[in-house]
Symmetry: C2
Subunit: 205 residues, 2 copies
């Protein structure tokens, strides 16, 4: 065990997700060797995030403005909303370059075991958005794509949203489950393979 | 990709050793959710380490004083110096509770490939220590235990030190190489097993 400031730093780093005591020690000694201004940049970046970053008041993505970059971008398709659990999911979807609509971040998924009920999520705010467009001239929302995680909590949340939004006539869709591209059928788990079979697509039109 | 402060934070974390872009993102979003004072503790700890922590002027371990805790502890055996590459090696040795002598941190090992020559290491300072005890009343140094890593660089450094210190009559020893305790002979690599054979110890006295 070290003592004093270096041990304090190791302990603070150990509290972060995915950083064990060994990595924390490695990071602390790395910081010790860095030029002062490089270490300062890291500690400042932490403070700036805490001071500046908040949630977009419409979609609950992270933002340093009242509205995030997606909500304030008039060129995006206002008629589709993709519902995700957390802000990093948006980054993954943007990487596909296939989606040009809006987003809505639930800030979690329904999980009775962890005590997360629909009231804890940003579902009320989603319903409000469907009824109240930001730009009255824009086309109304015609589809909600539920992109929650393909696990029990994500599925439960998707089902809940489908039941809630369905009656309004807005289409509710779900991302396809199936074999990951580049994967190996031999090593696919039976649930994924079952879904891939169930969702099979005709190649003959 | 995110933008603004959160992306800056992700990038700063990605620069740390052992933290890839995915972990950096996870850590950044974790910090975003933390109470402000918890995030402040981490950024302050980084600054305190940079402001306060320096190297012990005698053994080059990290310290927040001129002399580190080991060098200033008169109860430790002043006649043995254990030479290590980096400060975390001291922590590993202290965990054994088998060693009560002093330490000397070389700040690396000889590595011609990486351009590290003996002049880059704290070897001159080690020789100075051997000739000049901190406490003139204390017994002189009788043994230098070289605990550099059991790899090419560490071995080269150990050989170099043995040649350098040997003529003075001070004993220079090296940590034993062999099978790790709790390991499995079947899975030992041939170099380790070779060393274990070479260093075998008589059980019959």
């Amino acid at each position: 065990m070290f003592t004093g400031p270096i041990q304090d730093l190791i302990e603070e780093f150990s509290k972060l997700p995915g950083i064990g005591p060994k990595s924390a020690q490695r990071v602390a000694f790395h910081l010790l060797k860095l030029p002062a201004e490089d270490a300062r940049r890291l500690s400042d970046a932490i403070q700036v995030v805490k001071d500046k970053v908040r949630l977009c008041e419409r979609c609950f993505n992270v933002s340093d403005q009242d509205l995030c970059g997606y909500c304030s971008d008039a060129r995006r398709d206002q008629s589709v909303i993709c519902v995700v659990q957390e802000p990093p999911d948006i980054v993954a979807l943007e990487r596909t370059r296939e989606y040009r609509g809006l987003y809505h971040v639930l800030q979690g998924a329904i999980s009775p075991i962890e005590g997360v009920t629909p009231e804890h999520l940003r579902i009320r705010e989603l319903l409000f958005r469907l009824q109240t467009p930001l730009d009255p001239e824009a086309p109304p929302v015609s589809e909600v794509i539920v992109a929650t995680n393909p696990n029990t909590e994500g599925e439960a949340t998707a089902m809940y949203l489908a039941r809630l939004i369905g009656p309004s006539g807005i289409r509710v869709s779900r991302l396809a489950s199936g074999l990951p591209v580049g994967g190996d059928l031999e090593y696919a788990d039976e649930v994924t393979l079952g879904r891939a079979l169930e969702g099979r697509r005709s190649l003959t039109g």
